[in-house]
Structure formats: structure tokens, C-alpha cells
Symmetry: C2
Subunit: 143 residues, 2 copies
Amino acid sequence: MPSVIMNPPDALAQRLADSGLRSTPQREFIYGVLMKKRDHPTADEVYARVRADLPSISLATVYNCLETLVQCGLIRVVNFERGPTRYCPNLSPHAHFHDEQSGTIHDIDLPADLLEKVASILPPGFDAKSVEVTFRGKSQPAA
Amino acid sequence: MPSVIMNPPDALAQRLADSGLRSTPQREFIYGVLMKKRDHPTADEVYARVRADLPSISLATVYNCLETLVQCGLIRVVNFERGPTRYCPNLSPHAHFHDEQSGTIHDIDLPADLLEKVASILPPGFDAKSVEVTFRGKSQPAA
DNA sequence: CTAACAAATTGGAATGGTTCTAAGTAGCAA
DNA sequence: TTGCTACTTAGAACCATTCCAATTTGTTAG
Ligand SMILES: [Mn+2]
Ligand SMILES: [Mn+2]
Ligand SMILES: [Zn+2]
Ligand SMILES: [Zn+2]
């Protein structure tokens, strides 16, 4: 047994193992990209960022890995109209504000009680697995 | 002046005129398709339906006319994930329930006071021009 | 009515994000 | 070592939508 103290397994390796999937450099770096700059990048933007560390990664792999991370529940998918799919690292319940001018996406905290009220408008017979709240408009640049 | 009594101008002709646009058979029939079966068809589905009356209409024209109707505020655009854009004839405030099994879209009435509460979660500096509420899940077939 | 002009339609090509495919690579197990 | 499976890769294919250039239609002016 080596004297090296084992690091606690990171969230990614753990989740992948739970799903019977392997931890690969591509998955690790892509996950890192999402965790580091917590915005809402497109697959192309993730591709551009991860190429700094993995110059030979392919765009197909970026799509594959992002899909894997979504399946593992580590990131979420966000879509605005027909624009390219974006990926969101924020797992807490929130709405999205899409600034039309800048194209920026802002996370808006969504209180649990409001989420409940929204879900309660569904007539009997409707069983919602997910609720999405999306705003579009102008936002002041942050102070 | 002809003795024919003039029909009250329909909503479409009126709205088009207001925008300096012409009333064309293509626009009239496409609008009719949306008003008749008040579901959420894709451009292809509209194309299929309108070809019964206008066999020589082109898909490009279907896209053009639908966009025109949206600009005139007569119909609305709805998107689910990356699926083809759908068109909604219901102009009152409502949420959409997307049945994953059947692919059906259901309109869910959205009370004005709830819409207000939802809009009120926006911090100062955010000016929303539109709010969208979307559910995804299973729905019982209507009785 | 005709001529001129602008608006609208058309078929087909181009676009762009995403998915598919087939071939290669890497890690693990017997 | 061999075999097995998962994973990555490059590039082709896909498909909803937009663009383009040519034609048709409608409107207006003479
Ligand atoms: Mn945008
Ligand atoms: Mn669907
Ligand atoms: Zn988010
Ligand atoms: Zn609707």
C-alpha cells in the first residue's frame, strides 16, 4: 500500500462510477470548464475553452461528454428559442433571464414556495417532471 | 358602389393593413389553419394542412407567412428544446405543458396574479419583456 | 387600360447546430 | 497476451430554417 494519502473522490468521478461510466480526461476537463466559469456556454464555447488543456479533443467528444454530465445530473441543459443549446452548472432551482441585447444568460433564484404555486396551476391529470421559467428582456450591467 | 354588403374586415386583413402589408391567399389560409384547429403545429404541419387548399404553396412561403402573423401579433411562437418551432393561436397568457409520451402540447391557463408573482422575483435592473412557463411530463388523455 | 414599381411567392441552394458512423484508442479482465 | 468494452475521433449526414435570385402578383400613376 502506498503511503500517499488518497484524495477524496471528486463529485464527477463518484457520479460517473455510480453510473458505471469511466472517468476520462475529456470528461474531467469539460466538467472543470463548467465549474470554473459558472456561466451558460454553448458546446462550441466549451470546445474553445477545453482546447487550451486538451488541444486534440474533438467537438463530437464535447457533445458526448456534455450529454454524459447531463445524464449524471451534474449539469443542466438550457435552450432559448432555436439558439444553440447551452449548459448550466447551477443545480439549484432557478429561472433564466435572457438578455436580448448582450445575449447573456442570468440565473434568477426561484423560491420553492413560488415554484409550488406555479406547479399548482396544473389541472388534475397533468404530472410535471420539470418546470421551466424563462424571462427575455433587457438587464442593467451588474454594478 | 356595389350593392354587396361589405363583410366586417376580419382580424387578419385589418392587422395586415395596419402594418402596411397585403392580404394574400397564402396568409389568409395559413391564418385559417391556425384558427381552425387550435393546436400547436410545426411549419411542416401547417404546410401539410394548407396544401389541401393551396396545392402549389411553398414551404418557404409557409415560413414567411407564419413569421408575418407572429409580427402582427396574431399568433405566437413556441419552442421546446431543440425541436421544430411550433405556432400557437392562443393569445391569452398561458403556460405550455409538453407531454413527452405523445409529443402533445397543452395550454395551461396562467392567472394574472401568479404571472405577477413570477415576474416579481426579478431583482432590480432586470426588465422582462416576456415570461415563459413550460412544463414537461406525462398527461392523462382528456376524458 | 397600360406601364412602372413594390410586395410577395417560389424552388432550390446554403447554413449551422447537432447527431451519426465507422475506425481507431485506451483501459480493464481473464 | 488476448479479448472485451468503453470511449474518442474525424468527417459525413441530418434537418429545420434562412437565404437567394427569378418570377408572379398586386397597386398605383399616367
Ligand atoms: Mn439571444
Ligand atoms: Mn417531444
Ligand atoms: Zn442557469
Ligand atoms: Zn399555446
